[in-house]
Symmetry: C2
Subunit: 213 residues, 2 copies
């Protein structure tokens, strides 16, 4: 059986996005800075259909994340930035164009039903309206014995942590301040973490935790 | 010339103290847990007049902090937990008894004048009412060419960071959640940090930053 994990970049304050996210700036003001360490990596460029890129400790960490990936779960807000009826969503197919970088089934937590959308390169967008446990059950069927990533946003990760369904969390701490935004470590009463690994690079500090059950 | 540094334990959320600090629980609910890694160390026990204790990476980090220490600066709240007139403060001489563990002059930022208090073992408590810059000037005279530690609380460290007077900040990240309390990384508009060192141990992750000027 694969594991259920989350893996997310945070600022020094623990923000996973900056203030005032918009369609043009989905990660809020300066939120893109959290991910600068990723864009240059070979392991990021490859699933995005590009060649080249840096190798090294950051790349190794990122490669681990996708090496055994069988399915992805994400919140509606992370998927499209919208809410409510899909016909009114200005970004109903998400941020990633015709060939999204997931290459596995993606399960989107939403209150609004919708038929599955099939994209190029193995990604399907499946819309789950009956809660995080059912989304995970469906993801497990799709992933077979591979891993499942709870990609975000913060609220989805928090819900999976609190419900005891998440096995591991890895944060990538960027040494920047965003002065506002969305916090990862909130609404986590009762959650206990055990630090299991730290890898440092000039760009970020990767800290991996097991969620105690 | 010595450097001006801060060195503080934080939870995963970035809290330096838990919720609801009181005289009995000055670090708030569960705030003591942030410092558990320290109490067992030889480098903590020695200035507290005790023998023995653990050595290893945490101890090495802690020894560095005090190795070249010439003076300490702290906020009134950290010193006594109180505010206002000293005659009404239930803890006017601080938390540390007759032989405080500083063994150097300590400068306390306060709005209420008071004569210097001399303790055993080289610690003096000096009360500074004319602002953080003057407190630093006095600390520099006392420290000669040694280092000056801005011990806390969060607000004092933030003020020294924002004013460009702090050279280095080291945080010790405890893998715990406090679910509320006092944040370190707040009120820091315009501050930029450069990560200069990471040391990990089973207990905490030590991350040291240079404050960019």
């Amino acid at each position: 059986m694969g594991k259920v994990f989350a893996d997310i970049s945070v600022s020094l304050e623990g923000f996973v996005a900056g203030p005032n996210p918009t369609l043009e700036e989905p990660l809020g003001k300066d939120g893109e800075l959290l991910h600068e360490w990723v864009f240059k990596l070979a392991a990021w460029r490859e699933p995005h259909g590009r060649t080249g890129g840096e190798t090294g400790p950051d790349n190794d960490v990122m490669k681990e994340t996708t090496a055994n990936l069988g399915a992805v779960i994400m919140g509606r807000k992370m998927f499209s930035g919208g809410q409510g009826a899909w016909q009114d969503d200005p970004n109903p197919d998400g941020w990633w164009g015709d060939t999204p970088p997931f290459h596995v089934p993606v399960f989107i937590l939403t209150h609004n039903e919708r038929e599955t959308v099939k994209k190029d390169g193995g990604t399907t967008f499946n819309f789950v309206t009956d809660g995080i446990e059912n989304a995970l059950s469906q993801a497990k069927v799709a992933a077979k014995d591979k891993d499942i990533q709870v990609a975000g946003g913060a609220s989805a990760i928090q819900q999976y942590m609190k419900s005891g369904l998440l096995d591991e969390l890895q944060i990538h701490i960027s040494p920047i301040l965003l002065h506002g935004g969305t916090r990862l470590f909130e609404n986590l009463e009762g959650v206990k973490l055990e630090k299991i690994r730290v890898i440092d690079s000039p760009s970020v500090t990767h800290i991996k935790f097991k969620i105690k059950k």
